[in-house]
């Protein structure tokens, strides 16, 4: 029988979770509850004596100071409503898992599974309907959780809740099906749809042609297979050929039409991204576009590794689990690069709809605030619990992100350039090496993740695609792997992400020329999985290790000592075949060449520049009020609420933090950390993202994102000569079809973004080292279609030789000169200022490729220690950059707008809020004035005022009248209040 141990707080203790849930019920759901208390429930599937239960309550589950526990006896009393939330069968229950381990450690006996659930005791005059809303709208997600509701009238104080054991019980005999592909076109399309293969007719035909070719048929006969592919084969192909894995759109043959001219592009990736990196060709590029992450040199002895991923679709379905899995998932990329690297920081960039959105939501979508909170908490747990500092990020708001939120997660790692005498970034696999699965076990979770993220979100999107990451299992595994790496216990490794073993072993097998996988040797979470499910499952926290047979014993011994599960599940061969067995029978047998080469897509793109309404309004009278409104805008305002919940210091190398300045609350442009504690060399991380400009032209949007990333990195002192980029495209479906009538335009937007990426990375000498794309960010439900704005995140990673030379954005001393670097043009198109007035406009900011020369001079000035503060001008323009510099420094400013270099602008508001690129606000102490101006000679720059010792922020306009006057505390307050939850 199973037992329930319930743990609640003592009368006089604060139930902090209850308090914060109460606040959210009132604020987010507008339901007037008076009180919320929580009780944690541990349901133990084991036969235990009352003494044993009491001991567990006392010594494990309840804190003797703050909590009380009961065994097999309900605690809940005196509420109006009770909601108990638990997991559905098969959903990862991390606390349950730890509980099992802890009980076994204490009682020294084997117990069954422990399941956790939580009771929320709600007091207040609320209806059942409202309680339902609290459960479904805030406390639980029906995709992964179940809940039960009791009113006080229905409550039985003796019996309490029924014991629920969410066990997975599959009454299913594993089987392998053969699938007949000798069918008509329509049936092929239907088959693809029904099995969630997401393959096109052309691809289905290519598969059919392969299996029915006579030499293939002959080869298959020998291993006991017919000419009909097995479900294992078909599923493996669908996964390998998915957009997610093969980037078919980026590799497509595209006919791009612009102004009646047509050009042919054979692979966007090869033509623009890879070509740019090849042409730039720096000596510090170590491994690019080859491995799970890009590798660059840090110093002669160490390399740094970086990758940025997105986890959008899972985050739309369950924001917490999706984002958590996103961060621990991207962690495995650098960990699985070369021979393995140690994680040193995370970055996160989110795109959400307005958290204050108050219109009705299309069916199946969660409220943006719930998405925001869930994603924030997911990344908090994923990063903090892994001991990886989250040092850089952004949040971008646009209501089209209702359709799908974007969750970009990046991870950087460091590895010795050489390990036991060999280059650490190279992966070498020989025939005979073993494939070892390490970390977690396989369940049904995440099946079809890769194919599923390659289609739009709809009401029936499968819940199996949602997984919950387990940072501690992964932390244990990564600690173990680094130890095993340094002992030389394995050859190389890779991540088990999208596509599971099929993908990890299948891809690694390209290095040796083939593989054999034995599915019945894979550790499973529960019985009843079909072979294809074992092969494809995306259960988390798994890595695939490539281990020479003679090292196997030592490898397994160390794994055991570290409490990490590992099992040999296959071996590498040079047979040219992807060969899979189940119970000694062949269940898949395919040529590696066929398996890894889907047919190339052919697409058309047509560019037609959009025309937006010309904004028409007079310069506002009260520009001080406007400045405050712009500071309060979601895209400009302080994100401290989020930053404070992320550990940005762990590992001890923090140098420039996300929040800086007198009150530790000014907005940093970039992060600097010291990855090696015995060295002064630093890593710089920054990024640029500005989807708002994409409504005018994605070419300039991309240029602006690249410029912003570079600007941010330079602002803190990064060396321009050692700066690498990472491109992450999130697009709406760019393939024209009946349900996607403007696909050709969206593809043209993608082409233009790539063209800009090539033009500006080469102009700036910032090569891309890794990237990723996510191409189906649309929502379709009840006839409503929401497509996200095309979005590119450009991340940069760089180096600063001496962290002691780093600069922050806050004004330092009264009397310092204030300079603006770069020219201000009438470029309000897509700006926050226009948006505040309800316009988009057309005059989009354009980046001058020559800006790089000014950046070099600025870098030199920073290196010489001539700069007191440096802040880049971005969202909200010069006015926002000046205000932030002032209030972050706790100092006032006197600015003369007429001194600002412009191309003849006549309006104060245009100078103040134009978002022209390549500009900085810099403060310099008077004693450094001469040297600074000497270095900047030949560039467009001007001294426009000075820092003052009072708290007054004063800007004099073109007509010599004061146009802005405010206390810096008021400005800061306007900037902070929007998201000060």
């Amino acid at each position: 029988m199973a037992h329930r141990i319930e743990v609640g707080f003592k009368e006089n203790m604060v139930d902090a979770l209850g308090v914060s849930v109460r606040k959210r019920i009132i604020e987010d759901l507008n339901i007037p509850v008076t009180d919320v208390e929580t009780i944690d429930v541990y349901t133990i599937d084991a036969q235990l004596s009352p003494e044993q239960l009491k001991m567990l309550g006392q010594n494990l589950f309840a804190d003797p100071i703050t909590q009380v526990f009961t065994c097999d006896k309900p605690q809940a009393r005196g509420f109006s409503w009770l909601i108990e939330v638990g997991f559905r069968p098969g959903v990862t229950d991390n606390v349950g898992k730890t509980s099992t381990e802890a009980i076994e450690d204490m009682l020294k006996i084997k117990v069954g599974t422990v399941y956790t659930s939580r009771q929320y005791l709600i007091t207040g005059d609320v209806s059942r309907e409202q309680v339902e809303k609290i459960a479904s709208g805030l406390l639980a997600n029906q995709l992964i959780e179940r809940w039960e509701i009791r009113s006080i009238e229905e409550w039985d104080e003796e019996r309490g809740m029924d014991v629920v054991l969410p066990k997975v019980e599959l009454e299913h005999e594993p089987q392998v099906l053969e699938i007949d592909l000798d069918i008509g076109d329509e049936e092929l399309v239907r088959l693809s749809k029904e099995r969630l293969l997401v393959l096109s007719l052309e691809e289905m035909k290519a598969i059919r042609d392969y299996f029915y070719a006579s030499e293939v048929v002959k080869g298959r006969e020998k291993v006991g297979l017919s000419s009909r592919p097995t479900d294992v084969e078909l599923e493996a192909i669908a996964q390998t050929w998915s957009e997610h894995c093969k980037h078919k759109i980026f590799n497509a043959l595209i006919e791009y039409q612009e102004n009646e001219k047509t050009i042919k592009i054979d692979s966007l990736f090869e033509s623009y991204i890879k070509r740019s990196t090849e042409e730039i060709g720096r000596e510090w590029l170590v491994s690019v576009f080859k491995d799970n992450a890009g590798v660059i040199k840090f110093n002669p002895d160490w390399n740094v590794v970086m990758k940025v991923e997105t986890h959008n679709t899972p985050s739309a379905l369950d924001p917490y689990a999706g984002a958590l899995t996103g961060i621990v998932g991207v962690n495995r990329d650098p960990l699985g690069t070369g021979r393995g690297a140690k994680l040193i920081f995370n970055t996160d960039v989110f795109c959400f709809a307005d958290p204050y959105y108050h219109e009705e939501l299309p069916p199946g979508l969660l409220h943006p605030k719930r998405i925001f909170e869930g994603v924030r908490r997911g990344v908090e747990h994923g990063g903090n619990k892994s001991g990886v500092p989250t040092i850089n990020g952004s949040i971008v708001f646009d209501n089209r992100f209702l359709g799908k939120p974007l969750v970009y997660c990046g991870t950087c790692a460091i590895m010795p350039a050489k390990l036991l005498g060999e280059a650490s970034h190279l992966k070498k696999i020989e025939s005979g090496h073993l494939a070892v699965m390490c970390g977690g076990r396989i369940g049904k979770d995440g099946i079809h993740g890769a194919t599923f993220s390659s289609e739009e979100l709809h009401q029936a999107s499968p819940a199996a695609a949602v997984q919950i990451g387990d940072p501690i299992t992964q932390k244990k595994m990564s600690d173990f792997l680094l130890e095993a790496r340094d002992l030389g216990l394995y050859q190389t490794l890779t991540d088990n992400g999208a596509g599971g073993l099929s993908s990890s072993v299948g891809e690694m097998a390209q290095l040796s020329g083939g593989c054999e996988i034995f599915l019945d040797r894979c550790p499973l979470k529960y019985e009843g999985l079909d072979p294809w499910e074992i092969l494809l499952s995306e259960s988390q926290e798994r890595m695939t290790l490539i281990v020479p047979p003679e090292k196997m014993d030592d490898f397994l011994t160390l794994a055991k000592r570290r409490g990490v599960e590992a099992a040999a599940v296959g071996k590498f061969t040079d047979s040219g075949k992807f060969h899979v067995f189940y119970d000694d029978k062949t269940v898949a047998y395919m040529d590696m060449n066929f398996f890894h080469n889907p047919p190339q897509m052919k697409l058309r793109a047509k560019w037609r520049p959009p025309e937006h309404e010309l904004p028409h309004f007079e310069e506002p009278e009260d520009l001080t009020a406007i400045l405050k409104r712009v500071l309060s805008r979601l895209n400009v305002c302080s994100k401290e609420y989020v930053v404070r919940q992320y550990d940005h210091e762990v590992q001890g190398g923090s140098v420039v933090k996300p929040l800086v300045g007198k009150g530790n609350d000014g907005p940093s442009d970039a992060a600097v950390i010291r990855p090696l504690l015995d060295s002064n060399e630093g890593v710089v991380a920054a990024h640029g993202i500005c989807p708002k400009y994409g409504d005018i032209d994605t070419y300039h949007m991309t240029a602006c994102a690249i410029d912003e990333a570079v600007r941010n990195a330079i602002s803190v002192g990064a060396s321009l000569a050692h700066l690498a980029g990472l491109d992450n495209f999130c697009w709406c479906d760019p393939v024209q079809s009946e349900k996607n009538p403007d696909g050709e335009y969206k593809l043209a937007q993608l082409v233009r973004a790539n063209q800009a990426l090539y033009d500006y990375t080469t102009a700036f000498g910032v090569p891309c080292i890794s990237g990723k794309d996510s191409m189906k960010n649309d929502y379709l439900g009840d006839g409503i279609k929401i497509s996200i704005p095309p979005t590119i995140l450009f991340s940069v990673i760089g180096k600063i030789e001496d962290v002691e030379k780093a600069v922050t954005m806050d004004a330092k001393n009264a009397g310092d000169m204030v300079y603006v670097l770069g020219i201000t043009r009438d470029e309000l198109g897509g700006s926050e200022y226009y948006a505040e007035h309800g316009f988009v406009g057309n005059n989009i900011p354009k980046v001058d490729e020559q800006a790089i020369r000014m950046y070099q001079s600025l870098t030199e000035a920073i290196g010489q220690g001539l700069i007191a503060s440096c802040h880049d001008c971005s969202d909200g323009g010069l006015a926002v950059a000046l205000a932030e510099t002032a209030f972050a420094g706790g100092l006032g400013m006197n600015i003369d707008l007429a001194q600002t270099p412009t191309d003849g602008i006549k309006r104060n508001d245009t100078i103040l809020f134009s978002e022209s690129q390549s500009r900085f606000v810099v403060t310099v102490s008077p004693q450094n004035k001469k040297s600074f101006e000497q270095i900047m000679k030949g560039h467009v720059f001007a001294s426009i005022g000075h820092v003052t010792g009072d708290e007054d922020f004063v800007i004099q306009g073109l007509n010599r009248k004061v146009v802005i006057r405010a206390n810096i505390c008021e400005l800061k307050d306007a900037w902070q209040k929007t998201l000060s939850w």
């Binding site: 902090a16 979770l17 100071i65 450690d105 892994s386 001991g387 600690d479 806050d810």
Partner: protein, 260 residues
């Protein structure tokens, strides 16, 4: 000979590298050791003079922060720990290490009973994980070896369960009376203050306590995260010489040199 420091690692402890570095920087010979290697007797605790239980998320903070780690120590290494303490050696627990020590009863250990839990660390009043720098005042009546010669110190906290609570008023009084209280959260001027200065809402603003001997010390803030002046959030605007956290480790190293 350099004092030998065992820095515990494994199961989600994650401040082990920088804690090891801090001790080395302070002049010790420090080594990260997996908990299982002590349990399996591959490494002997008795070969070290200082035990550091670093910060992190042992066992994911599941059930309660530090609880499962505490049990792991209690049910596998109780004797070794008692002997270590009996030998007059030093233990420091930082953040998650402090949480584990409190649940294990290693501190405050009234009457030398190193196994009774009379205080706890629980969820911050804010209901949130708090990553922020805090000003701390050192109780000059405390005999804590790690904080000798320090009056004020500025360090980061990074926790979700940092609210310190004694079991009752008598425990609280005793903590004060016998010099167990080592650190208190204060504002920039050095006065006791509420949130965010006292980020979790600790009773009496307590941030760190020790046993009666001053040799066993636990604290929520992270001294190992302020070894360099560049760790300070305002180092680009204030004239600083070095990280204030270093003194904590130097004190321990010096004490071992003087006493062993």
């Amino acid at each position: 000979m350099k004092p030998r420091v065992l820095v515990l690692t494994g199961y989600g402890i994650n401040c082990d590298y920088e804690t090891e570095f801090a001790f080395q920087f302070a002049g010790a010979w420090a080594r990260r050791v997996h908990l299982n290697d002590i349990i399996d007797s591959r490494v002997r605790l008795e070969d070290f003079q200082i035990l550091a239980i670093p910060g992190g998320f042992s066992f994911g903070d599941d059930i309660a922060s530090g609880k499962v780690l505490a049990n792991k120590l209690k049910y596998n290494l109780a004797l070794e720990l008692q002997r270590f303490i009996g030998d007059g050696k030093l233990i420091i627990g930082i953040c998650n290490g402090f949480q584990a020590m409190v649940r294990l009863g290693l501190i405050p250990a009234f009457e030398g009973d190193y196994g009774a839990q009379v205080t706890t660390l629980t969820f911050n009043d804010s209901g949130r994980f708090e990553a922020r720098w805090v000003y701390l005042k050192v109780n000059q009546d405390s005999s804590c070896i790690f904080t000798q010669g320090i009056e004020r110190i500025y360090l980061p906290v990074r926790n979700g369960e940092g609210k310190f609570i004694p079991r009752d008023e008598s425990v609280c009084q005793r903590l004060w009376h016998n010099g167990h209280v080592v650190l208190q959260y204060v504002d920039a001027q050095g006065s006791l203050a509420h949130y965010p200065w006292n980020p979790g809402g600790s009773v009496d603003n307590i941030a760190g306590i020790c046993d009666e001997t001053g040799r066993i010390f636990g604290l929520m803030p992270h001294p190992e995260a302020f070894i360099f002046r560049t760790n300070h959030p305002r180092w680009t605007r204030e004239n600083l010489v070095q990280g204030e956290g270093l003194a904590v480790f130097r004190n321990a190293v010096q004490w071992v040199k003087d006493n062993f």
